[in-house]
């Protein structure tokens, strides 16, 4: 699979286009499955970049910022990364790029105290940009000693190149941010995990890393799903943990998140933009695009040349392995979206009966037995499903990928997991 993956990545690699001035943005009032957000603006309000327009409720309180300056047009429902329609605040961009706070604090990054650091990354709404949008301040808000910071730039999803492109473009800034985070949080060691196939990137990193004695570049095989936190920690630090890496004094951050922290510390800039890979054979041009959160995917696709002349296509938000197919291109880009993939549609091949070859068992990174889980799910044997620890499934889709019988085992495991969760409630 590895060679195929590298070929798929070549499509969009190192091509960065700026699309920072969309006419409208639709900022999703959601985070993952959580749509519990208080709206703080109303139709007709003028907002600047960084104006807090909504606030997530509950334990993961994170502000949602306006990503352009202009007038609030109202609330409309647009497609979210999960495939659901969610409420979005529509803002008409006046193109003036007015920031709420214009580089007020020019303090050196490493001069932040831990409290100021936490406050800044909370106020600027920094969340994990690797796909889960988990609030970053929660990770750092700990009294436990942090020994190692692992920076995830391995990006194993077959088509995605946004992280490696960002790291290549902003190498110095990212190293500076890592150094500052280490100093503020008294972290002794940092590891930047990069795909070993990215030789040019590794060379560039090594050129800059000389002065940062405690930062190490580790080239890892980009075998899927190396990006999975548990596997990444195992590969870089050779340790296992039970629930979160912090148990072993480790924090894992995506490289895009580190860059967002850099902008937050350096310029007090809230999380308003990110790099997204637009790729796949369904598009005329494949590239990485720097865009505002809330930009519609269809506007970006139009800007980069549009679709190939193919009758049926699939549009996927996320990635080829873990992403979701969407019914239209009216996808409002949220921090979770790292890739928009458009592929010509191929009809599903007929699923054959399971021959119990065990390839899914060999491939499963979570060490599950997909064959038995699927059988137990057919029999609705919840006790057996619990014994088989179905809850450990990370939904990577390798079982479905490898299955020679064309069975979509991941879906069955998802349903089995849901069944167990419902039983647990």
């Amino acid at each position: 699979m590895r060679q195929d993956v590298m070929n798929l990545k070549k499509m969009s690699k190192n091509q960065l286009i700026d699309f920072s001035k969309p006419k409208y943005v639709y900022i999703p009032l959601a985070s993952g499955k959580d749509e519990n957000v208080t709206v703080l603006v109303k139709k007709g309000d003028y907002v600047k970049i960084g104006t807090v327009i909504g606030k997530r409720k509950g334990t993961k309180k994170i502000p949602i910022h306006a990503t352009v300056s202009g007038y609030v047009m109202g609330i409309e429902k647009k497609l979210y990364v999960t495939g659901q329609l969610v409420r979005c605040i529509k803002i008409e961009n006046d193109g003036k790029e007015c920031y709420l706070e214009e580089n007020i604090d020019q303090k050196k990054m490493s001069q932040y105290t831990k409290e100021e650091f936490l406050e800044t990354i909370l106020d600027t709404g920094i969340v994990g940009l690797g796909g889960d949008a988990f609030p970053t301040y929660i990770k750092y808000n700990t009294d436990k000693k942090i020994n190692t910071l692992v920076i995830n730039a391995v990006e194993c999803e077959p088509y995605n190149t946004s992280d490696t492109t960002l790291l290549f473009e902003k190498c110095e800034e990212i190293l500076e941010a890592i150094d500052a985070i280490m100093e503020i949080n008294h972290i002794e060691h940092a590891i930047i995990a990069v795909p070993k196939e990215e030789t040019e990137l590794i060379r560039k990193l090594n050129n800059f890393i000389g002065t940062y004695l405690n930062i190490e570049v580790k080239a890892l095989s980009s075998s899927y799903p190396i990006r999975w936190e548990r596997k990444l920690v195992k590969e870089t630090k050779h340790v296992n943990y039970k629930f979160i890496p912090l148990e072993k004094g480790i924090i894992v951050n995506n490289v895009s998140t580190i860059y967002a922290i850099y902008e937050a510390l350096k310029q007090k800039k809230p999380l308003v933009d990110r790099i997204v890979t637009f790729t796949g054979n369904g598009l005329k041009k494949q590239c990485n695009v720097k865009l505002k959160i809330g930009t519609l995917a269809k506007d970006v696709i139009k800007k980069i040349g549009g679709y190939q002349n193919v009758d049926d296509m699939i549009l996927i938000a996320g990635g080829a392995m873990m992403g979701n197919a969407l019914p239209s291109d009216e996808l409002a880009i949220s921090p979770e979206v790292s890739c928009v993939l458009v592929l010509p549609y191929e009809k599903n091949k007929i699923a054959n009966p399971c021959i119990r070859c065990g390839k899914c068992v060999q491939m499963c990174p979570a060490k599950l037995n997909p064959v038995m889980i699927a059988e137990a799910y057919q029999e609705k044997n919840i006790k057996l499903l619990q014994q088989l620890e179905v809850k450990r499934c990370i939904g990577c889709g390798l079982c479905s990928f490898i299955c020679p019988s064309n069975r979509n085992i991941r879906n069955q495991i998802k349903l089995a997991k849901k069944l167990c969760e419902e039983e647990g409630k």
């Binding site: 873990m322 992403g323 065990g358 019988s405 064309n406 991941r410």
Partner: protein
């Protein structure tokens, strides 16, 4: 607004298909069949021991098996109103090949037809297949049910062997009384290397250990075999018979003979690794191989049945689900599988010592 097709992910698929797996097996067994034909058809023909018709006997046997099993399979599927998949047809050819390769050259045609019918019917029932390999069942039924091994003299001999080898009674050919010496077990067929080459009488495809080993390596390379079962099974037999051989003051040849004879290699590579009736978890596969080895030794020394390896496969496949459950739990809690390993190791050593000293 442009509409897109909705489909469940993942959106990438590996290129390997079930039919590719079946075809790999077909090529491998095809080579084995060609060897069987050379040994039992071409070689005796060139040495003027048989007619052209007799030379083509292996093909005739294969043709009969395939035709009968196909007719039975399609009829049973039609009665059951089941869909027929392409890979099932290739699988049927593979199964027909295995059935022919496991039977003696002199097998009566009615026995072959009987076996083909049973095998093809069982191939139509997925739930039965999970707990018993249709080929193993059909072979055991025809061999044990018709007593052909004991009632037909020199059934494993081809025309050349019938002329050149001394008549040897069945019990010493695939001897269940294994505590006899080199003179009785090996010398009638020359040296132990003849077992490796395949220059000994036996089931059509089960004699050439070298060829079987090459096929095993090819299947491992193609990732189409549950190799853990093969290796554990052979390892268990080797260790147990080494104990027995040492305690009985036989030479180093004894454990090697145990592996090279009685179709153990064929069973270890072809039948014991059958996908459907064997475990899928690594620990499950290892426990399966260990159990298989212990049962084979038990059947060889304590029962009058010649089909020790086949009987072991049948019994172990009944435990398929249990072994997989142990294997699945052991992936997270390895310590829970330790009692099973310990029990099997104690059994291995205990049985070997008992046979070597008291039997």
């Amino acid at each position: 607004m442009k509409a897109f097709v909705l489909k469940d992910g993942p959106f990438l698929k590996s290129k390997q298909k079930v039919s590719h797996i079946e075809l790999t097996w077909l090529y491998s067994l095809g080579i084995l069949f060609l060897f069987a034909w050379t040994k039992n058809g071409i070689y005796p023909f060139l040495n003027h021991n048989m007619s052209l018709k007799e030379m083509l006997l292996p093909f005739f046997l294969l043709g009969i098996t395939f035709i009968i099993s196909t007719i039975t399979f399609f009829t049973t599927k039609k009665i059951k109103h089941d869909r027929i998949y392409l890979f099932e047809i290739i699988h049927l050819i593979v199964s027909s090949l295995i059935l022919v390769l496991l039977l003696p050259i002199q097998v009566p045609i009615y026995v072959l037809i009987f076996g083909s019918v049973i095998m093809a019917i069982l191939e139509c029932f997925d739930k039965i297949k999970k707990y018993m390999n249709p080929i193993v069942i059909s072979i055991l039924i025809v061999i044990m049910g018709t007593s052909i091994l004991t009632s037909t003299p020199n059934i494993y001999y081809n025309a050349y062997e019938q002329k050149n080898l001394e008549a040897i009674s069945m019990p010493s050919l695939i001897d269940h009384n294994h505590l006899v010496g080199y003179q009785q077990l090996v010398q009638p067929y020359g040296k132990i290397k003849n077992f490796a080459i395949g220059n000994v009488p036996g089931a059509l495809g089960a004699t050439s250990i070298i060829l079987l080993s090459i096929i095993f390596l090819y299947l491992v390379y193609k990732k189409n075999i549950k190799w853990e079962i093969t290796l554990t099974y052979l390892f268990t037999i080797f260790i147990m018979s080494s104990f027995i051989g040492n305690l009985s003051h036989f030479g180093y040849w004894y454990p090697i003979y145990q592996i090279l004879s009685g179709g153990v290699m064929f069973v270890a590579i072809v039948l014991a690794t059958d996908n459907i009736s064997t475990p899928v978890t690594p620990i499950g596969k290892i426990l399966y191989g260990l159990g298989l080895g212990i049962l084979t030794i038990l059947f060889r020394y304590f029962t009058p049945y010649y089909e020790a390896a086949l009987l072991s496969v049948l019994l172990m496949s009944f435990l398929n689900s249990i072994l997989d459950r142990i294997g699945s739990i052991a992936r997270f809690h390895f310590e829970k599988s330790i009692p099973f390993f310990l029990s099997l190791w104690v059994l291995m050593i205990g049985i070997s010592v008992f046979i070597g000293t008291k039997y």
